[in-house]
């Protein structure tokens, strides 16, 4: 699972608008988005470079949490991943936590139930992968411009 955290110097409600209103999303996301913002709602992402992704909205808790799954258009579901936004008020604005993890469509790809665990493993990834894949560089946990929070 990929995790990024940044503090954005605006209120949760302003940040929520920037994350969800299509005309706002177009200003920073790299894709235009069309979505029906409720659980099960359809989504479509039109990338600035012409690529199209399909998607579905999973959870919506206004100003606090949004998750959706997305995949390259025409994919059989195996390349899908799930993105979550979590917003928490912070002294300097709003702490935004973004996660993305591979999440093939349940309809087309059997989840590997035997391997699933409930244990949290956030945080192990960078250390572990550096250790074993020393030749690859694993990106730093915070976006440029954001304040480091972990």
């Amino acid at each position: 699972m990929l995790v990024r955290q940044v503090v954005i110097p605006v209120s949760p409600s302003e940040l929520w608008n920037a994350l969800t209103e299509p005309e706002e999303v177009a200003a920073w996301f790299g894709s235009r988005v069309e979505w029906d913002l409720r659980p099960g709602g359809q989504a479509r992402f039109l990338s600035d470079d012409g690529a199209v992704r399909g998607g579905v909205v999973d959870d919506v808790v206004p100003q606090r949490h949004l998750s959706f799954r997305w995949w390259p258009e025409g994919d059989d579901g195996s390349a899908a991943s799930q993105v979550s936004y979590d917003l928490e008020p912070d002294d300097d604005g709003t702490l935004l936590t973004v996660t993305e993890e591979p999440r093939p469509h349940e309809a087309t790809v059997e989840p590997q139930a035997s391997l699933r665990t409930t244990g949290s493993w956030t945080g192990w990834d960078t250390r572990l992968l550096r250790c074993w894949a020393a030749h690859m560089s694993v990106a730093a946990p915070v976006a440029a411009g954001g304040r480091a929070v972990r």
Partner: protein, 110 residues
């Protein structure tokens, strides 16, 4: 890159015992389940189960020598997961930098 495969790697690594086993094998080189089991507060049977889960995800291979199976780390499984994290992470770094700029255009640091 195959998302199910990356997902299987992440799922397999979600368990602390499996991470410890991989750590040990990557540090010490190939070992049998019996050699490994001594260092864990769980049965040899349970260790074998974890080793099989890691092998299914493509992170280990078991090599039979006589009556023993020695488990060896396969680096490519981790490499795929690392590549996925790097690629997807780079995209989010770009997006979040742009989001910060969009919401706080006065911030000259970015």
């Amino acid at each position: 890159m195959s998302a199910p495969r990356v997902e299987a790697v992440f799922a397999a690594l979600g368990d602390p015992t499996r991470r410890q086993l991989l750590d040990e094998l990557s540090r010490d080189g190939p070992k049998t389940a019996t050699e490994l089991a001594g260092g864990y507060p769980i049965s040899r049977q349970a260790v074998v189960k974890h080793l099989n889960a890691l092998a299914t995800a493509g992170l280990l291979v078991g090599e039979r020598r006589g009556r023993d199976v020695r488990y060896r780390v396969v680096a490519t499984g981790l490499g795929d997961a690392a590549a996925w994290l790097t690629e997807v992470g780079d995209r989010w770094d770009r997006r979040l930098t742009a989001l910060q700029r969009h919401l706080d255009p006065a911030d000259e640091q970015i």
